[in-house]
Amino acid sequence: MSKVKNILLAGVGGQGILLASEVLSEVMLMAGLDVKKNEIHGMSQRGGSVVSHVRYGDKVYSSIIPEGEVDILFSFEMLETCRYLPLLRQNGQVIINNWKIAPPSVALGKQAYPENLTENIRQQFPNTKVVDGLDLALEAGNAKTVNTVLLGALSNVLDFDRELWLTALRKMIPERLLDINMKAFELGCQVK
């Protein structure tokens, strides 16, 4: 039986994390694997932290990733990345979107946004890739395609047929936004 792989998506409500984890799960399902996906979305639209667990393999039981067994932390926001680092395996992989969103205490001037995050993360997890998601999304033509840019970057480190990704995107993204998202995905794929 092949081992179950675990991807934890993290970020802030409104960043399109839930759609990204939807596309990701669809890819796994089309690849013929068992998939479970789990998220808490009670208050997510009001700017709180959001996480989504995606697990895939021959047979998946728990939809929550066992603590300390995250293979890839796929994060949409710098600070949120740090919150979930303790859940990563040793030698786990990190993909971070280079985007800082001030939490309320920072916006109110009560706390400072932590500094040198990338360096600190790299020190613990050398296998860390930083993506300029917002820049690439703007290059694709819409800031809201950040999630698709990031999926492109993720697709590079996962071993699934490119066609599966494109089919999943076509299935999950509304017709009128498809072209721009395809472009965003492409830009994400080119990130080294």
Binding site: S62, L79, G109, P114
Partner: protein, 585 residues
């Protein structure tokens, strides 16, 4: 057969469809809300939002008495509201099958308590299925309808947040089309619960539970999965998944029907192991019943009564192993939810804070008025409680202190159970002030229609309740209808009505920012003229997420991508620093 990914809630909706249900009714509540939202895709089912859970269940009961299969859904605390019809429905039994979904929320991801509704099954003597993934959610919903008719009983389906909101692969079936047509059929001895009839029905209820106990020991939904034969585990629902993860070699008795328990099967299983665990979240519901059978088990002596399980928490409980958690980095700034930019509730709470009001609060997006910097909520118990709480606290305060008391409640919550409180407030001559934050939607749970929105669940236009008339009808004489974006007016009105030694109601009228049909409200964003801003931080009292404090330059600025142009901040600034793009500075 091709599989698709469904959430537990989507699977329950699908299950109702496949079972041939004709009616579905609910009041929204996380994590149950998407069940009804998804049922609307099946045009064969009449789907509707009720103003509260009691009405939702009563509508479901009516349909079932008419001979149709009906599904009723609510969050765990909703069952408290619906408990009155529920307990007697247990006596009448059903005609068409009735499945009541209770979506519990261990860990309080989005709730005011984490009550374990399996206790309701035992209390009301209503059988309860508990699925462990989306496929089971679909199957058990269908099974629920069959069992409901077979044993003449309503049936509970218990979900939890991790079942309702997780997606897993499901194969679909066809809809049943061979059910009898609903029509009137009188049966007063069964359906009119006067003492004489109810006494007889009670005997049937007790017999039904014993019959089901015997029957369920041989049903496939209670199954044994053989492992290495050393440890035995009894579990149900989502806990089953964690057991398989953490104890892959254990022998597992997975229970699908958690009430009544399959005692015969449990006895046979338990006899084989010297080490027997019961793994369940929250209360020792299964454990206590097994102990009462005289069987020794390990359970809540190792696992917490509070919060949900995870694979790590199970491991830690059983073997004492330390497991990492995301709370390991407490020094990181937290990211709690906040009202949206332009939310019509925000200015009201800023003014309540400034007026030093004692706010008896209620449940909705406006509960976030508790968070700093608004910090204007002193109590919050359950839906509708704000008004009764205000009446009660005023009874024991001096006249000066009474004037500080303000009940704050949303439109959906007011119609849910607040209106009864208001009736009492007038009837018993209280002096408190009530603010109804009418944003014309049930926003907190993801924007569902309600009787103040003018639309139904299926987006049909309908009568819009006139809150002002409604308050007048229960006898409120002083009613002020205000625009909450007008801060001076909001301040003046709140202070005047707080000072009035009689019941008064203030109704605010701006819609929720996130309702698409009201998007016209979204206007040009503002910016902060950096020359005019003195860094006094008066605007920071609003806590609008679009306003950021620039700690280096000591000035405010606005994120124009998320600012909705509500202009509330403009009115907090004494230096005219908040300007519209294009406006001269």
């Amino acid at each position: 057969m091709k599989k698709i990914l469904l959430s537990g809630n989507e699977a329950i909706a699908r299950g109702a469809y496949e079972a041939g249900a004709l009616v579905a009714c609910a009041y929204p509540g996380t994590p149950s809300t998407e069940i009804l939202e998804n049922i609307t895709q099946y045009k064969e089912i009449d789907a509707s939002w009720a103003p509260n859970e009691k009405v939702a269940l009563e509508v479901g009961i009516g349909a079932c008495f008419g001979g149709a299969r009906s599904l009723v859904a609510m969050k765990h605390v909703g069952v408290n509201v619906a408990a009155d019809p529920l307990f007697t429905l247990s006596y009448t039994g059903v005609r068409g099958g009735l499945v009541l979904v209770t979506a519990d929320d261990p860990e309080l991801h989005s709730s005011q308590n984490e009550q374990d509704n399996r206790n309701f099954a035992k209390f009301a003597k209503v059988p309860m299925f508990e699925p462990a993934d989306s496929q089971e959610a679909l199957e058990y919903t269908k099974l629920g309808f069959e069992v409901s008719e077979q044993f003449d009983t309503p049936v509970f389906l218990r979900s939890t947040t991790r079942i309702s909101h997780s997606k897993s692969a499901v194969s679909l079936g066809e809809r049943r089309t061979d059910l009898p047509e609903p029509k009137l059929e009188r049966n007063p001895a069964k359906l009119v619960m006067l003492p004489g009839n109810a006494r007889k029905r009670h005997i049937d209820v007790e017999k039904r539970i014993i019959d089901m106990e015997d029957w369920s020991s041989s049903q496939p939904f209670n199954r044994i999965e053989k492992g290495a034969g050393e440890i035995g585990v009894i579990t149900a629902g989502v806990s089953y998944q964690y057991v398989k993860e953490v104890l892959p070699d254990a022998d597992v008795l997975k229970i699908g029907l958690v009430y009544p328990l399959p005692k015969k099967l449990i006895r046979e299983f338990a006899a084989q192991y010297s080490q027997l665990y019961v793994v369940e979240e929250l209360d020792p519901f299964i454990e206590e019943q097994i102990r009462a059978m005289g069987i020794e088990v390990t359970g809540k002596d190792k696992l917490s009564l509070c919060g949900e399980l995870t694979p790590g928490r199970l491991k830690k409980g059983l073997f004492g192993e330390a497991v990492p958690s995301e709370d390991c980095s407490p020094e990181l700034p937290q990211r709690p939810p906040n009202m949206c930019p332009g939310c019509s509730h925000r200015g009201v709470f800023m003014e309540l804070n400034r007026a030093k009001a004692y706010v008896t609060g209620d449940i909705g997006c406006y509960t976030l008025g508790f968070m700093p910097p608004l910090s204007a909520m002193d109590t919050c118990v359950c839906m509708g409680a704000s008004i009764g709480n205000a009446t009660g606290i005023c009874k024991v305060l001096s006249p000066e202190e009474q004037q500080k008391v303000v009940a704050v409640i949303g439109d959906s919550t007011f119609l849910h159970t607040g209106i009864n409180g208001l009736m009492d407030m007038v009837y018993n001559k209280s002096a408190a002030t009530v603010i109804i934050l009418d944003n014309r939607i049930t926003a907190m749970t993801g924007r569902q229609e309600n009787p103040t929105s003018g639309f139904t669940l299926t987006e049909l236009e309908t009568y819009r309740v006139d809150l002002e008339q409604l308050c007048r009808a229960v006898g409120v004489e002083h009613i002020r209808v205000i625009d909450p974006y007008n801060i001076a007016l909001t301040r003046k009105t709140i202070r005047e009505e707080m000072a009035r030694p009689e019941v008064s109601v203030i109704i605010t009228t701006r819609p929720c920012m996130l309702v698409p049909r009201d998007n016209l409200e979204r206007r040009t964003p503002l910016f902060v003229d950096q020359d005019k801003c003195t860094g006094c931080q008066a605007c920071m009292r609003l806590g609008c997420p679009a306003i950021n404090w620039d700690a280096v330059n000591k000035k405010s600025n606005i994120d124009k991508i998320i600012c909705t142009g509500c202009k509330v901040c403009q009115q907090t600034c004494g230096f005219g620093a908040f300007l519209e793009y294009g406006e001269q500075s």
